[in-house]
Subunit: 294 residues, 2 copies
């Protein structure tokens, strides 16, 4: 079961980091960029692929997982999605758990088509994810097909997102005293019932912004069988101290994503880009380990 595998990889590397491979052309070091015609989709996609390969080589012994944001590749059309697929394969061959951040969502038969695309159920999925992010707004019949696709894979459903406007809908108070995001969290916990693995967590994880320490900690004590993906570390402002409460008492049950803080680390450094990226990943590992007492 995928959350067992992710939990084990986190323990082995003593590092609950997910490296966000959300590569824009502006994140690619000049030495790589200048080799390609980055003004066209093909050239930009090829430059990003070369950088992604280098990133995975640099990070694979430090981090247990990557999160690949498909929007960054869709914007380059078919060449971009080709780079997306190659990046997935390369990360999996490097032994990393591959989280695809696609926030897909639709009703029953269409959700099944998305599940086939990302998680399987009809042969090898074209966009091969171990765990896929999904949007919960449509309810259970938009979630179930993702769980049916392949019993070894899982999903992260959005519960409380890291962005400032997340409060606009997600924080609205319900008549029963809960907020909308708490109700979604309760649904996520319910949707995962019967799929709990050895790690104590189900196949339905939750996305909880690291930028909301109090709400995240409250969700942690509420959702006892739900693994958390915590975006918002680094560029969005959250640090190690903010995420402690979103882990369980053993320092497990969550993984912290950092995208720009790793892949664009060289832009704020005097080191050569490979050294800067690796240093940023090691600094994050140290920050999280200190905060969690790993």
């Amino acid at each position: 079961m995928i959350f067992d595998r992710l939990s084990q990889a986190i323990q082995e590397k003593k590092n609950p980091t997910c490296a966000g491979i959300d590569t824009r052309i502006g994140h690619v070091p000049g030495a790589i960029r200048e080799k390609y015609d980055c003004g066209c989709a093909r050239g930009a996609a090829d430059a990003i692929w070369e950088y992604n390969r280098a990133l995975i080589d640099l990070l694979a012994d430090v981090v247990p997982s990557v999160k690949i944001q498909i929007a960054c590749y869709e914007m380059y059309g078919l060449p971009g999605l080709e780079t997306f697929c190659k990046t997935q394969d390369y990360a999996r061959q490097a032994g990393l758990v591959v989280i695809v951040d696609a926030k897909r969502n639709d009703i029953a038969s269409t959700a099944e088509a998305y599940a086939n695309a990302f998680l399987g159920g009809a042969g090898k999925p074209a966009f091969d994810a171990d765990i896929l992010t999904v949007n919960p707004y449509l309810g259970w019949d938009g979630i179930e097909p993702f769980l049916k696709a392949d019993a070894d894979r899982g999903i992260f459903a959005l519960v409380k997102t890291s962005n400032p406007s997340s409060s606009q809908l997600q924080d609205l108070p319900l008549a029963d005293g809960r907020t909308v995001f708490e109700a979604v969290g309760d649904l996520v916990e319910q949707w995962g019932e019967g799929t709990v693995g050895a790690c104590g967590y189900s196949r339905v994880g939750a996305v909880v912004g690291a930028t909301h320490p109090q709400q995240g900690a409250a969700l942690r004590s509420r959702l006892l069988h739900t693994f958390f993906l915590l975006p918002g570390y680094g560029a969005q402002g959250a640090g190690g101290k903010d995420i402690v409460g979103m882990f369980d008492e053993k320092g497990g049950g969550a993984v912290v994503n950092n995208s720009r803080g790793l892949i664009a680390a060289w832009q704020k450094s005097t080191q050569a880009w490979p050294d800067a990226v690796r240093a940023a990943a090691l600094a994050m590992q140290a920050d999280l380990a200190a905060a969690l007492g790993l």
Copy 2:
């Protein structure tokens, strides 16, 4: 402005129908299917492309718009998305308004990448939509980038979806007396402020399931500047009488989607498939026109 253009096309054709080109390989007539190796992604994608072309040829003088469900193409990977792009171009060349049903959603900079992919803002978009469906769960900073991409294009945000489980989250009562979907509807109306065109509707439309006649009618009187996309007609059970209340008093302000009821019409007919598809489209036009008094 795209909703002016859509409204005009509906008036000219006296037909508020959107043909859902959500083609699965099982919808493709045998005479086409047998020409391709449909067991592989390439063959299936090519068979679907041949059928889509025929569908658009058959429907272009009857319907004003198509809705293309990207999930049906993503499941076939890059060959599927190639068919998706060719279908979009072909529909646009036939003079149809192209709605892409992708329900995309993310936070600010990533929403911008999706906007670039579907609506422009960074050159010609790879997946070229006149109107894109989006999921509102992340709030305004996940919506704004879609509106910034190209002032002539628009979005449909999910408000009340057509599926049975839509009630699970969307119908929850808020402390202020509204339901979650009413609150989302109010946000949609607010997000569209300042973008209202000659037709009286803004660039931010709403998806409202035709399967919920009462809730849809209540939304109609609540959201005065919001154009509706109404899925759920036909295979999902809604008919002309169900959607009347979701149109404005002039019979405008909405478009009704039908996917399987058109593209798979030949499966329930004794007619040759081209005749069956066309007959289904004309029957839907007649049903809507009678219900709306067009």
